[in-house]
């Protein structure tokens, strides 16, 4: 069930740029953790970047996303600004959330990143709520809920899909199946072979797609987003992918099959996409290298600013617990 639309050169290059923006942010995250300059608990999305890149090119600034702790790629592809993102990672006053939420709770409404949650599955019921408001107010907006394969086994997933379906909410459920839920293989934890088959249980279309294939992922995302925007209701996309750095960064991946990770890394979708764009003459080595260098510079600058930024005031313990007194 995919659209016949083939993304044009501009869209493809934009998608690559988003995916490499995520990749470069991730590389720097791992670098600063390893060198001790910014210790943090980090859930690396390296390997999964094509998915939010393809979804994001189909979203406007007014559309929104709800994502999860392994969501840095989702956030930067949607447009969360880097200095505020890194400020938040560093727990500084300059962070998106004044340092009070941290990496698992990045929120940036003006770019549409309404929620990042540390609870598996909780992005879905809340995405429904945002979509419900668009429906009632007749706004031409869509909400995307990002989550992982393991989330499709939690109660909130089932409740949310059922409700979204009966009410035909303008929501898109994007499951990033990276084959592992924490340390447990997807096959061991999940009663179905394909999560997209669960869509039928909720009377909505289910799309099973190679999440690392830019064109296929673009088409899946466009189909689902257009459907939601047209008032035809939700779609469940299961985008197959792989995560290169375990559950939490620092994991030794002892629970993975030997060679599985190496094989996935050999098929790294981001450099593969890059090579393909150049081969197709959609872009050039120079254009892309310049962009990547500029991004790396921007990321390093954002990190340096974050490290130099002030800590939040102690007063912040008492601020934003409840609404400020009128």
């Amino acid at each position: 069930m995919t659209s016949q639309d083939i993304p044009n050169k501009e869209i493809l290059v934009d998608m690559y740029k988003k995916s490499v923006l995520a990749k470069i942010n991730d590389e720097n995250a791992r670098r600063v953790i390893m060198n001790g300059s910014l210790p943090m608990i980090y859930y690396s999305p390296r390997g999964q970047e094509i998915i939010p890149a393809a979804v994001s090119v189909n979203l406007s600034d007014e559309d929104t996303i709800c994502t999860i702790y392994r969501g840095m790629h989702d956030m930067v592809c949607k447009g969360v600004p880097l200095s505020e993102l890194w400020g938040e990672y560093a727990g500084k006053a300059t962070g998106t959330c004044k340092g009070k939420g941290g990496p698992m709770h990045i929120t940036h409404p003006s770019s549409g990143c309404m929620l990042t949650t540390g609870i598996v599955g909780s992005s879905l019921p809340i995405a429904n709520g945002l979509a419900l408001s668009y429906q009632i107010r007749k706004e031409n907006k869509v909400c995307v809920a990002y989550f992982g394969d393991a989330a499709s086994n939690i109660g909130a997933f089932h409740e949310a899909l059922n409700m979204a379906s009966i009410w035909k909410l303008p929501v898109v459920f994007v499951c990033q199946n990276n084959r592992y839920g924490e340390h447990t293989k997807f096959e061991k934890a999940t009663a179905v072979t394909k999560i997209s088959d669960r869509a039928a249980a909720y009377d909505m279309p289910g799309i099973h797609v190679d999440g690392n294939d830019p064109v296929a992922m673009y088409q899946a995302a466009k189909t689902a987003i257009d459907r939601a925007r047209n008032g035809d209701g939700p779609t469940l996309i299961e985008a197959m992918t792989f995560r290169f750095f375990g559950h939490v960064f620092g994991d030794q991946d002892g629970y993975m099959d030997k060679g599985e990770k190496a094989q996935a890394m050999a098929e790294d979708p981001v450099p593969k996409f890059r090579a393909w764009l150049i081969e197709q003459d959609y872009s050039s080595e120079q254009e892309l290298a310049e962009y990547e260098a500029a991004v790396d510079k921007e990321v390093k600058s954002a990190i340096a600013n974050a490290l130099a930024a002030p800590w939040p005031d102690m007063d912040e313990l008492n601020i934003d617990v409840l609404a400020a007194a009128q």
């Binding site: 390893m34 060198n35 001790g36 608990i41 939490v248 960064f249 620092g250 994991d251 030794q252």
Partner: protein, 76 residues
Amino acid sequence: MTTKILMPKIGFSMSEGKLAEWLVADGAQVKEGDLLFALESDKSVQDVPAPGSGTLKIIAPADGVYDVGAILGELV
């Protein structure tokens, strides 16, 4: 410009780490990203890359356990 080499915190519960061995000799030239020392945990050993470039000055001897954030050496 001197770059400090710190014991990193990797993963949830790490509060200290074992510097199993230095992969580069004291006084050697190092480029950013070169593998600098082996960090041992209960489960395995990870090679940690250099945070900058320069001449390695070892401060913390190998085969020692150090707190997260401890200065292990410098790149001068």
